[in-house]
């Protein structure tokens, strides 16, 4: 069923009796050509692009819980492509371009809102670094703009510009950045993939891999064995836990990133704002809540909940930048498990086991990557070669010494 304005009017006049479920709930078949593990944003996007752009059939997406119950529903919904390094920027810019055409492609309202992202500058060294970053973005076809304090004052008059320690001295803006309704991304991809014949099988946890003579033949699941030509892991946050079942150790540690929503307010925050002197970023949802976050809790965890010190740190940073935020009550806090890779960059690659593929290590930046991650993973699965913009996201980059260390922190995941 295609969604359209006409359809909404017709349904309104006929008591909304014509709407149908957006995707099927099929029983798993005995075997598939492609089995994707994890029906989050990346897994569903992979299935969709595999079917739509690479013309593949017999695809299943297996999900332990329900669609979009993991990190695609637990992030702060920001999309942007303001990266510096060659391994990253073309990938994220490609992703942003896919976001721009996503709703038309999926026939689904994902509320893509290019309200702009602004990274604040507080000292001269930061200005130099951001000018360099902005140039790198422009060289890769993205947009970037340096803003003066006066320009920022016009758009964000409520900021603490004259903080004694962290005065705001400028900003790097990407006007095409913004926010996307995160659940709608999962639902839109699920509906589009399902309509192309992809089986989305929920409540179907993968409990093991069947590996014979170094080749993966399928997966053991809570609903029995499912054979597969190619098995694609796509469970960022739990990657190590799943791949341990194939006796793989990954360059990944799991930690938790917390996110926060205030009570609903009238429109105040025009775009996405990031603090340059602490770790704090904030936007306002269409319901009016201020959505914000900061540092992850810097220790290994799979608990999907964090601790109070990280909350205190985020709130202190928020108060330093936007003193008015202290008058808003915090409504909700939640945590999502993230794969922290050794260099802070993701992995989309084959494994040493035949027919077994891996997508993970998204650290705390996986949401913005959803469309490109899906497209690049589908490309890898369909052709066995890396997509042009994901060539750097290989397992062996640590062995070769070609880390993509966007923040220059070295091989220490809790520092990124």
């Amino acid at each position: 069923m295609r969604y359209s304005g006409l359809r909404v009017i017709k349904e309104a006049l006929t008591g909304h009796r014509g709407w149908k479920p957006a995707w099927r709930n099929p029983e798993p078949q005995k075997d598939y050509d492609f089995v994707i593990i994890g029906a989050g944003g990346h897994g569903l996007a992979t299935a969709y692009y595999l079917a739509r752009h690479y013309g593949k059939k017999r695809i299943a997406v297996l999900e332990k819980g329900w669609i979009g119950g993991g990190n695609v529903g637990r992030n702060t919904t920001i999309v942007r492509s303001n990266y510096l390094l060659d391994g990253n920027e073309p990938f994220y810019e490609y992703s942003l371009k896919l976001w721009e055409g996503l709703e038309q492609e999926l026939n689904y309202n994902a509320m893509v809102s290019q309200r702009g992202i602004l990274n604040l500058i507080h000292n001269d060294a930061q200005r130099d670094a951001f000018i360099r970053r902005g140039n790198a973005m422009i060289l890769n076809g993205a947009d970037a703009e340096m803003l003066s304090v006066d320009q920022i004052r016009r758009e964000y008059p409520f900021l603490n510009f004259d903080n004694a320690r962290f005065p705001i001295t400028g900003g790097l803006a990407q006007r095409r950045g913004g926010t996307v309704r995160h659940d709608a991304v999962a639902w839109g991809y699920a509906r589009a993939a399902d309509s192309l014949g992809v089986d989305i099988i929920q409540n179907c946890e993968v409990t093991g891999f069947r590996i014979e003579n170094g080749t993966c033949k399928g997966v053991e699941t809570a609903r029995g064995f499912i054979g597969a030509g190619k098995v694609a892991s796509c469970v960022a946050g739990s990657s190590s836990h799943l791949m341990a079942k194939a006796n793989m150790r990954l360059p990944i540690e799991s930690t938790v990133l917390q996110a926060f929503v205030s009570e609903g307010l009238k429109p105040v925050m025009p775009g996405v704002l990031t603090f340059g002197a602490g770790h704090f970023y904030c936007s306002q949802s269409d319901k009016g809540g201020l959505v914000f976050g900061g540092d992850p809790d810097r220790y290994n965890t799979y608990a999907q909940r964090g601790n109070l010190p990280a909350i205190e740190d985020v709130c202190e940073s928020g108060m330093a930048l936007v003193p008015a935020i202290g008058r808003a009550r915090l409504l909700r806090i939640w945590g999502g498990n993230v794969d922290m890779s050794m260099d802070g960059s993701p992995i989309i690659d084959r494994t040493d086991i035949g027919g077994l593929y891996f997508n993970g290590g998204w650290c705390y930046g996986g949401f913005k990557a959803t469309p490109a991650s899906g497209m690049c993973y589908a490309h890898l699965l369909a052709t066995d070669t890396p997509h042009e913009v994901a060539q750097a996201y290989r397992f062996d980059r640590f062995r070769r010494g070609n880390m993509i260390d966007e923040k220059g922190m070295g091989p220490q995941p809790n520092a990124h």
């Binding site: 836990h241 990944i252 540690e253 965890t301 799979y302 601790n307 010190p309 091989p411 220490q412």
Partner: protein
């Protein structure tokens, strides 16, 4: 989280910084035949278990000792705390 420091008693985890898995104590022999491979695994690969995890915490704002903390990554429950130097000595790593 409260970490029961073997010398100083219960301390807030905020006084510590976290480094990672306690396997980092077991630095490979740089003269071994396959030292390069061993160092790749040592530096970059992790077990990252969902459950009991032995890990290194540094008492940065306290006595600056390194601890090996056994903690459950699903519940955050801490079941054992040892001085890292004692653990290293048992492995013959330190004098």
């Amino acid at each position: 989280m409260i970490i029961h420091h073997p010398l100083l008693g219960p301390r807030d985890a905020q006084e510590f910084t976290f480094l990672g898995a306690a396997t980092l104590i077991e630095r490979p022999d740089w003269q071994a035949e396959d030292a390069q491979e061993q160092f790749h695994d040592y530096l970059h690969l992790r077990d990252n278990p969902a459950g009991e995890h032995r890990e290194l915490w540094f008492h940065e704002t306290g006595d600056r000792s390194w601890l090996v903390v056994t903690r459950n990554t699903l519940t955050h429950e801490i079941t054992n705390v040892e001085m890292a130097r004692d653990v290293a000595r048992q492995k013959g790593r330190s004098k």
